[in-house]
Every structure is written in structure tokens, then in C-alpha cells.
């Protein structure tokens, strides 16, 4: 456990060191840059904003983590997020309920949208034995163009000079207190539920064990195909939820490129977190710190915010590669100690 934390911390520190070298080469002052980065994202007035920005990262990250840990390689978070966002938007355009009902209603619609999209991949596997690794990636493209069409034609806001829908009903806007958006509460709830399912429920136990060794689980009486379907639907719903919240907490409408890079960042977060639920939350927040901070960094120090993307990628590489390397490193240390004992 201690070693696990060490690997992650050392990985992040090494990545920052490498980032500093890049900045020095380019003639920037790395210390000031990093100071501005964290000041902008972690200062008392800013942290609530950073938290709100972490919501789609953590939710899509958990979607990828749960899928990877259970076996299915669901890489369809970008498409599932868009479909969730679209369904929530449509609901918000045509239906108006009191906020207490409206918000859960739209969130459920968003989850349905995501689950529908991952469900298509699951059915393709069930009927034609097509790998979800391929189909989810393909469905991302389809979702991308389908939602683009939807906001250009049937749900296009008249007279707008940009592909977008009108605003959803006010009752479906996530309440905001200062910089703190209530979507964070939804994220924390989702985290608690997912953690409990994965670590405490019978189903979660079966998912994890099947993810590690599907043949053993099958021989043990686990219904592999049923679990596959449930995991695909659940992880699709999580990505869809992220999409719904992006609309309801942010622009309150579906505008072009609303999905941004959230879902791919989420997949990356799942990889750094080694598909662990708690680590996904930690790295999700940390990536949000970097991304929000990059704006301030660019404003004050003239270091381009693209540098943060480099930093993110380096963190992923070092932590993932380091995880394997540290194991061998510690093992070798231990062996050398034994060797010395023997000679002495």
C-alpha cells in the first residue's frame, strides 16, 4: 500500500521535473510557472471551481476504470458522454418539472443515453461476437456526427450563428453557489455508489475476479455474459451521466464540441489509476488542477497551456511504466541484500 502511494508520488514528481527541463530549455522559469499553476487552481477562491471542473474527468475515468477492471475494454466514453448529453438536453428542451424532480429526471435520461450507446456495443458482441474494443471506438464517430446533425437540424436554435440548441429549462440547471457547482455532489454520490458496488457487492466481486481471470470465474459458476452486459450498461451510464452534467452545470445547452477532451482524459486517468476507483478520484481531481491551473499559468507567465498536455502525458507514461519498474527495482534490492548476507 505504502509502496503504491510512493510509486504514484514519485511518478508525478519525476513528470514535473521533466516538465521543468522542457521549460528551462524554452527559457521560462519553472518555479514561478508551477507556483502560478497551483495558485490559480488551488487558492481558496479557486478550489471550488477546480472541483467542479473535475466532475466529467472523474465520471468518465470511473467508467473506464470499472470497465477495464472487469474485463470489457469499453473505449466508448466519448460517444456515450455525447449521447448522454444529447438525451438530457432533449429532455430539458421539451419537459419542465419542479427542480427537485427535473434534475434527477434529466440525470436519469443522461445515464440512459450513455447506457443505450454502450448497450449497442454489448449487443454487437452478443449477436455477432464483435469486439467492444473496435465497436465502441466506431460508435464514438457515429455519436460525434449524429449529435452534430441533431444540433444543426432538429434541435437547432433558430437564428443562432453557431451549431447549438436553445437553453434547457431553468429547472434543469444544476444549482451553483459561487464557484461551487452542485454537480460535484452528484459526482461524490456516484463515486460512493460505484466504490460500494465494486468492493462490497457480490456482483462487483464477480466483475473483478472475471476481469483478472475469466476462465477461473466461469468455472466457479460466474455468469460471464450477463456480467459483461451489466458492466457495459453501467459504464455507459457513468459516461452518459458525465455528459448530462456537462450540459446542466455548464452552458445549459448542447453546443458544438461540448464533450471536449473529457472522455479521453478519463481513459487516461483510468490508466494512471490502474483501474482503481479511489485513485481514479484522486487523479481525476489532480488532472483538473493541472487543466484549470494552466489557464492562470498562461495568463501570468506566458508559458503556453499546451505544456500541461505534455505534463499529463508524461505523468501517465512515468506512473504506468514505473509501476512495473518499481516492482523489479524493489525485488532486486531485496535480492542484493540476501546476496550480501550469504557472502558475509
Amino acid at each position: 500500500m505504502k509502496r503504491k502511494i510512493l510509486v504514484n508520488v514519485v511518478g508525478v514528481l519525476l513528470a514535473f521535473l521533466l516538465g521543468a527541463v522542457v521549460m528551462l530549455v524554452q527559457g521560462y522559469n519553472p518555479l514561478e510557472t508551477y507556483y502560478r499553476l497551483f495558485e490559480y487552481s488551488l487558492a481558496p477562491g479557486k478550489i471550488a471551481y477546480t472541483l467542479s471542473k473535475s466532475v466529467p474527468l472523474v465520471l468518465t475515468g470511473m467508467s473506464a476504470s470499472v470497465a477495464f477492471a472487469s474485463g470489457p475494454i469499453n473505449l466508448g466514453q466519448p460517444g456515450q458522454l455525447l449521447m448522454g448529453a444529447l438525451l438530457a438536453t432533449i429532455g430539458g428542451l421539451y419537459i419542465d418539472l419542479p427542480p427537485l424532480l427535473m434534475i434527477p429526471f434529466l440525470l436519469i435520461l443522461a445515464m440512459l443515453g450513455g447506457a443505450l450507446w454502450s448497450g449497442v456495443a454489448a449487443l454487437l458482441k452478443y449477436w455477432f461476437n464483435m469486439s467492444e474494443f473496435i465497436t465502441t471506438l466506431m460508435l464514438n464517430m457515429i455519436a460525434d456526427f449524429f449529435t452534430y446533425w441533431a444540433i444543426n437540424y432538429p434541435f437547432f436554435e433558430k437564428n443562432a450563428n453557431h451549431p447549438q440548441t436553445p437553453f434547457i429549462a431553468k429547472s434543469g440547471w444544476m444549482p451553483e453557489w459561487g464557484n461551487f457547482n452542485s454537480s460535484v455532489i452528484v459526482m461524490v454520490l456516484a463515486f460512493a455508489v460505484i466504490w460500494f458496488i465494486v468492493n462490497r457487492s457480490t456482483a462487483g466481486y464477480e466483475w473483478r475476479l472475471s476481469g483478472q481471470n475469466s476462465l477461473f470465474s466461469r468455472l466457479g459458476g460466474v455468469n460471464i455474459s450477463k456480467n459483461y452486459l451489466v458492466v457495459m450498461l453501467l459504464t455507459g451510464a457513468l459516461a452518459g451521466l458525465a455528459g448530462g452534467l456537462v450540459v446542466m452545470a455548464g452552458p445549459h445547452r448542447f453546443i458544438k464540441d461540448i464533450g471536449g477532451n473529457y472522455a479521453w482524459d478519463g481513459v487516461m486517468i483510468a490508466m494512471v489509476a490502474n483501474s482503481g476507483i479511489i485513485l481514479t478520484l484522486v487523479f481525476g481531481f489532480f488532472f483538473s488542477v493541472l487543466q484549470t491551473g494552466s489557464l492562470g499559468m498562461e495568463l501570468i507567465t506566458a508559458v503556453p497551456k499546451e505544456l500541461i498536455q505534455v505534463l499529463q502525458a508524461v505523468i501517465v507514461l512515468i506512473v504506468v511504466a514505473g509501476r512495473g519498474y518499481f516492482e523489479t527495482f524493489f525485488a532486486k534490492l531485496e535480492a542484493r541484500r540476501k546476496m550480501r548476507e550469504r557472502i558475509a
Binding site: Y205, R208, L209, R218, G220, G221, E334, A335, K338, R342
Partner: protein, 527 residues
């Protein structure tokens, strides 16, 4: 037992020592990170022109020692003298050039090539311009075959010849490279009892030709029959080197395990009860339309151990997969405890069938999960005490106390239920799996090579548990490649050959020779 199959020419002759040492290994240490001491300052000398057996339990360091000699692994410390000169081989290629070759357990030949093509591969005689001199190559190989009296056709394709013949090709390959020291890593593990004397005869002829043969084995009869001297390793340390003429089986076993081991049948007389398990005309044809199982009928009664003997690949794997439901039969049915389970979901089968697979890491456990998580598999669906909320939530407290129960009942060496399964030794992994399956309390138990890869101590322990299950009136079907094990435990033995059950024998009324012959030929031999 094998001694009975040997013809007079194989009776060990007294040989004269000391002869010049060809290899001297001095205080070799090998540590596998993090802390597995595979070899702990092992010193051993091999003489020119002897068959030197290296015996020990699994994990004693036999193979590691030989791999270091052969240049496959570097030693962490220690020295090696070869023909009086200090040597260190960086890779097997260097060792072969120097005259030391190794025949591995898995045979590595190109199936589509002929015998002579395989032998010359990488060492081909060439004509002008670097073209292969086919005539000369074939002639050279033929010469070698005649020189050593191998019964081989140089033009046969390797895919068409028997495993025993392939092994000869491997040996021939090394002789073709003028190797004078041959290391054989458990060469008999792929052979049937009938093929073994022939191999031994050839090895002895090579020795009499001046070759040195280092023979790794954990079969004591073989070692006693073949070798001139024996070095025993235990847990990475050398216990001693003795002359075979002065060794006994019991003495060697004691050196190997550090205590006395009993070898006789351990069954008590007991009458079998009702039929617990039955396959009727079971047929399976694989996706390539090859029949793998043909009309297999096997019955197991309560309080009875039935063994399945057969050379690997004669339908045992398919039988296991059919019983467990990994594949579906093309015909016939499987009944367990009075119910047809042929096409039932696996969980339904598991209510009646406990299963110990041969492949621990892939079928028997999730090595990345912790021990408690491995222990509750299947139980978590069949036993209500492991779940709450109508089976939806796992009760981990119960899982850990169940792990503790298995630790005590099955004598497992482990730190805690939270440790990863991977951290257990092979013997302890098997005990955990055995514990999980036997405590399912299914009336029928399917054991697929339950002692494969275990050391003598663990094997003894597993055998005791199996006998206990028999006394509890459970029905046991045990597939094993180890005839000694089958004769020790079973009441009946069915022999499989090319997908058919060719014999159903009462263990007390048969013998190793008969079963071995049936395994090989598929028909009873003419006495």
C-alpha cells in the same frame, strides 16, 4: 515398479571411480529476486563418462543448476571449471561450442521438416556459394544415426514420428554438434513406460562411448536404474553425492525430503455405494471435425476412486471440459447424483461437482486476487452464509474466517487472507484450491492431475485428503499422468486411447505394465 520392465542388459554394472572430472561447479549461488535462494553455494563435480543423476523435489534447484551450466542463466556467484579451465558461458550457443548441450522437457523441433533437416539446422554443411549440400548433410546425419545405433529414419517428417523418436532427434542434434556432455531435463516425463527402457539403453550406449550424461529427474526408480552416481539437492542446497550402487529408494527419498516417505497403496477396503457419476456414450467432435471423444462410458460410485490413465492428448482434456461445461458434447450425456447435467449452467453443475484443475494459475485461481477472494469462489453463490441482502452483498468477515478454516484444516502456510494468492508457494496454492473444492461438499469430485508440479511432501498430503474423501463416501474421478499415483490411490482404472475408453480395470487385478501397454497401443497385449 519400472524395474520389472527392464531387460537384463540394463542392470547397472559396477563402474570404477575416480575418473577425471570433466566439470566442476564450485559454490554456485543463484537468487531469484526478491528473496528466493534457488541455489545456496552448491558445489558438485561430474566425471567424464558417467551418467550422473540430479534429483530433488520441485524447486530444489535441479533445473537452475543445469541452466547455469548450460549458459541459460548467469550465476550470482561461484565458479565453473570445464576440462580444468575456468569457464563462463554467456549463452547456450557458447556452451554447445564448448561441448555441453541440453535436451529440454519441451521438444523444440520444426514439425514440417524431416529428421535430417532438423538435425543439421543451423550447422549445415555447405557447397560452394553457401548453398546447402543436401547429399552430404543427409549422409552425415545417417552416419551419426548408425554410429549411435538410433532407430530413426532420416527422411521421416518430424510431425509424423512419435514423441520418443522426436526426443532422439533432439539428442542427435547435439551429437551432430560434437557435444560431449549431455544434459537431459526430465526426459522421461513425455514418454510412456514402454518407451523408457529404449531411451535408457541409448543413454548407456552414449556413456560407454565416453559421453557424460547429466540426468535431471524426480523419479527415483529411473534414477536407480540408469545412473552411476546421484547428487541430491534439497531447497537449493546439496545434500550429497552418492554412488547408485550404494543407494536405495527409501534412502534417496529421505535425502530428498528430509524425512521418511511411504510408497505403498494407502487404500482401505471398502465397498462402493450407489452410482454418483456417469457418462453415457459421450461423444465430442472438435470444430475442425476431428473426433476427440468416442462413446465414452465411465461410472463412479460413492466411496470409490476411479483413475483415468492415458498419454496426454488422448481425450482427457476434452473429458474434463465437457464435464465442467466449457464445451458441449456432440452426443451422449453426463449424469451426476441422479440428474442429467450435460447442458446445465456451470453453477448448477457445481452444486454436484467439485473440481480441482491441473492448471492452478489459469483455471484454479485468480493469482492477482487475495486468498480470501479465491477461497469464496462458487461458495459465494451456493452458501448463504457468505452473503447478505438476498445474496447481493458479500460478507467479507465470513470470507476471512472461512479462509482461516481452510488454513487450519488443510495446513496452509500463509500470512493472512488478505495476501495475494500469487505469494503462496505451489504446494500451498494447491492446498487452498483443494480446501475450497472439498469444502463445497459436492458428492462427486473431479481431480485433474491434482499433484502435478508438487513436491513429495505436498503430494503425500494431497493423497491423504483424497483418501479421506473416499472414506466419506464421495465419488472421485482422478485424471493422472502418474501411474504410481493411480496405483496408490484408485479402486479402478480406465485407460483412454485416441478418445476411447479402451479398458476398465480393477486396480488390484492389473499392473503397471498392462496399463502402460494399453496407454500406448490401445489394446491388451498378448501375454
Amino acid at each position: 515398479m519400472l524395474a520389472s520392465t527392464a531387460s537384463p542388459e540394463y542392470i547397472a554394472q559396477e563402474r570404477i571411480y575416480p575418473v577425471a572430472d570433466i566439470i566442476e561447479m564450485d559454490r554456485i549461488v543463484k537468487i531469484f529476486p526478491p528473496s528466493l535462494v534457488a541455489l545456496d553455494a552448491v558445489s558438485v563435480k561430474f566425471s567424464k563418462g558417467e551418467i550422473h543423476a540430479i534429483v530433488g523435489e520441485n524447486g530444489a534447484g535441479k533445473s537452475t543448476l543445469m541452466k547455469i551450466l548450460y549458459g541459460m542463466q548467469p550465476a550470482d556467484s561461484g565458479e565453473m571449471l570445464y576440462n580444468g579451465k575456468k569457464v563462463k558461458f554467456a549463452d547456450p550457443g557458447e556452451a554447445i561450442l564448448a561441448g555441453i548441450g541440453m535436451v529440454h522437457q519441451e521438444i523444440m523441433l520444426i514439425p514440417q521438416y524431416t529428421v535430417w533437416e532438423n538435425v543439421v539446422l543451423g550447422y549445415e554443411p555447405v557447397k560452394f556459394g553457401g548453398r546447402l549440400d543436401v547429399k552430404k548433410a543427409r549422409e552425415l546425419v545417417k552416419q551419426k544415426i548408425d554410429e549411435f545405433g538410433f532407430n530413426l529414419n532420416p527422411d521421416a517428417k518430424v510431425e509424423d514420428i512419435s514423441v520418443a523418436a522426436r526426443q532422439k532427434v533432439e539428442i542427435l542434434k547435439l551429437l551432430f554438434r560434437n557435444v560431449s556432455v549431455l544434459i537431459m531435463d526430465e526426459p522421461t516425463s513425455v514418454l510412456t513406460p514402454q518407451e523408457i527402457p529404449q531411451l535408457f539403453g541409448e543413454l548407456k550406449r552414449l556413456r560407454d562411448n565416453g559421453h557424460t550424461i547429466l540426468f535431471i529427474s524426480h523419479h527415483l526408480e529411473e534414477v536407480l536404474e540408469l545412473s552411476d552416481r546421484i547428487t541430491v539437492l534439497r531447497k537449493g542446497k546439496k545434500v550429497g553425492t552418492i554412488k547408485t550402487a550404494e543407494a536405495t529408494k527409501a534412502g534417496l527419498a529421505q535425502m530428498m525430503v528430509g524425512r521418511e516417505v511411504i510408497f505403498d497403496s494407502i487404500r482401505k477396503n471398502q465397498t462402493a455405494g450407489e452410482v454418483l457419476f456417469e457418462t453415457s456414450a459421450l461423444n465430442y467432435t472438435d470444430p475442425d471435425k476431428r473426433p476427440r471423444l468416442i462413446d465414452v462410458n465411465i461410472q463412479v460410485r460413492a466411496g470409490e476412486i476411479v483413475g483415468v490413465a492415458g498419454v496426454e492428448g488422448n481425450g482427457q482434456l476434452e473429458l474434463v471440459n465437457l464435464i465442467m461445461g466449457l464445451i458441449e458434447p456432440t452426443g451422449g450425456s453426463i449424469k451426476a447424483v441422479g440428474e442429467d447435467i450435460t447442458r446445465k449452467p456451470i453453477l448448477e453443475k457445481r452444486k454436484r461437482v467439485a473440481f480441482v484443475p491441473q492448471d492452478r494459475a489459469n483455471m484454479g485461481a485468480s493469482i492477482a486476487a487475495n486468498i480470501a477472494e479465491n477461497v469464496i469462489m462458487t461458495h459465494h453463490r451456493l452458501d448463504k452464509r457468505f452473503t447478505r441482502w438476498a445474496g447481493r452483498i458479500l460478507d467479507f468477515k465470513q470470507a476471512y474466517s472461512f479462509t482461516d478454516e481452510i488454513r487450519k484444516k488443510f495446513d496452509v502456510q500463509m500470512s493472512s487472507g488478505e495476501a495475494v494468492f500469487k505469494s503462496l508457494s505451489g504446494g500451498n496454492q494447491q492446498k487452498v484450491i483443494l480446501g475450497r473444492e472439498l469444502l463445497l461438499e459436492a458428492p462427486f469430485i473431479l481431480l485433474d492431475q491434482p499433484t502435478r508440479g508438487l513436491d513429495v511432501g505436498s503430494i503425500e498430503y494431497v493423497h491423504q485428503r483424497i483418501i479421506e474423501m473416499r472414506a466419506q463416501k464421495r465419488g472421485i474421478l482422478m485424471i493422472s499422468a502418474d501411474l504410481e499415483e493411480l496405483f496408490r490411490l484408485t479402486d479402478r482404472i480406465v485407460v483412454m486411447h485416441k478418445g476411447r475408453v479402451v479398458a476398465d480395470l480393477v486396480t488390484e487385478k492389473t499392473n503397471v505394465t498392462e496399463v502402460g501397454y494399453l496407454m500406448l497401443e490401445g489394446a491388451a497385449y498378448e501375454a
